[in-house]
């Protein structure tokens, strides 16, 4: 019996958890792919919108594809194109568009305990494909199934990437060609917020997670007056500190009770 199968047979695992442990890496890719499929509903409209905006801003097809493939980060691409339209100085455009992606460094850090043991080659492409959806879906999966092997974790991540990243590129191309013939009353603006909420709410399982999320919400509303999304960089660290502090307090309380 392999170590992984032995783990899977251990009695205090839920059926779902032992099933997850028994998957081969290839099955993990499929599993991640299937679970990421719903995000296509969100990435399609968002990607198409970038194609529309980029062509309206005067970018040619190669440049639009270049943005999408080399940057692969929606908010940052929109920021850059918006600033190009505003005729901002080149350095301002570069710095702003990179700053929008600062959260990626936080994602990268939080994946270290889960994917740090992967081969350098794997970590190189994981970094490239680290988008909000692949990150949030995978970290949620890893936390739910903490005993997955490193190959199973990498496989799941790959599956979530294959279902999402190519869609982003295809959607951008469609948007570039179809242009403005996309109706505005589809309320597509709200698909992204709903996905993010759907990704987060299953994670609210401890008081520390709930406290962190509440501080994130309140903090982002209080600091919403700050320019160019800077409020996020006040609210998110405050929320993370809150989560850590509550976790430490709970541990101390439980420790005292034992």
């Amino acid at each position: 019996m392999s170590a992984q199968a032995e783990l899977a047979a251990s009695p205090h695992l839920s059926p779902e958890q032992s099933r997850a442990l028994q998957r081969s890496p290839a099955q993990c890719v499929r599993h991640g792919f299937l679970q990421a499929l719903p995000f296509i509903l969100v990435l399609m409209p968002f990607g198409m919108l970038f194609g529309v905006v980029a062509s309206e801003a005067g970018l040619d097809l190669a440049q639009t594809v270049g943005f999408t493939v080399l940057v692969l980060a929606g908010a940052s691409q929109f920021t850059a194109v918006q600033l190009l339209t505003d005729h901002a100085p080149v350095l301002v455009i570069i710095v702003s568009a990179i700053a929008v992606n600062l959260r990626m460094a936080m994602y990268s850090a939080s994946l270290v305990p889960w994917l740090g043991a992967a081969r350098p080659r794997d970590r190189a492409w994981i970094a490239y494909a680290l988008i909000d959806q692949s990150y949030a879906l995978s970290i949620q999966h890893y936390e739910k199934h903490p005993r997955l092997s490193i190959d199973q974790r990498v496989g799941y991540f790959l599956g979530s990437v294959l279902a999402t990243c190519p869609v982003w590129v295809v959607a951008m191309l469609l948007g570039f060609w179809l242009g403005k013939s996309i109706p505005e009353d589809w309320a597509l603006d709200f698909a992204m917020p709903i996905t993010f909420l759907a990704l987060i709410s299953p994670m609210l399982r401890t008081p520390a997670h709930v406290a962190a999320a509440l501080v994130a919400v309140v903090g982002s509303l209080i600091f919403a007056f700050l320019p160019s999304g800077l409020g996020l960089f006040v609210a998110a660290p405050l929320a993370m500190i809150t989560g850590a502090v509550v976790e430490a307090l709970m541990e101390r309380r439980n420790g005292a009770r034992l």
Binding site: M106, L115, A136, S201, A216
Partner: protein
């Protein structure tokens, strides 16, 4: 026309691409399997619940599509997505609940 030369635009694309990749690779690439300090691990466990709600909250309260006017349909939809997500622990169920409530509410409030 953008008012920028083609090479300037490519410079922007490549610079933003490299910078973004650097941010994504940073900790994962450098730390690898070396352990991070305990306090950092503790904080980083709350990255997702700290970042995503902070991105979403202003969009829920002041949606761009209504020019920043608070919109009951969008708020109810957000509450539905969170409630179903917490109760079922299922991402797809939460998305479907949120979108269904959004379209139903928009239909009746229009």
């Amino acid at each position: 026309m953008t008012g920028y030369s083609d090479s300037t635009i490519w410079l922007i694309i490549v610079a933003v691409g490299l910078g973004t990749y650097g941010l994504r690779w940073s900790f994962l690439g450098i730390f690898g399997s070396r352990p991070m300090p305990i306090w950092a691990q503790r904080m980083l466990r709350y990255t997702a619940v700290g970042v995503l709600p902070a991105i979403v909250a202003p969009l829920v309260v002041w949606p761009a599509a209504t020019h920043g006017e608070p919109d009951p349909a969008r708020m109810i939809a957000a509450v539905a997505a969170v409630a179903v997500g917490v109760l079922t622990r299922n991402v797809l169920a939460a998305i479907l609940a949120g979108m269904t409530v959004l379209y139903t509410a928009l239909y009746f409030m229009a």
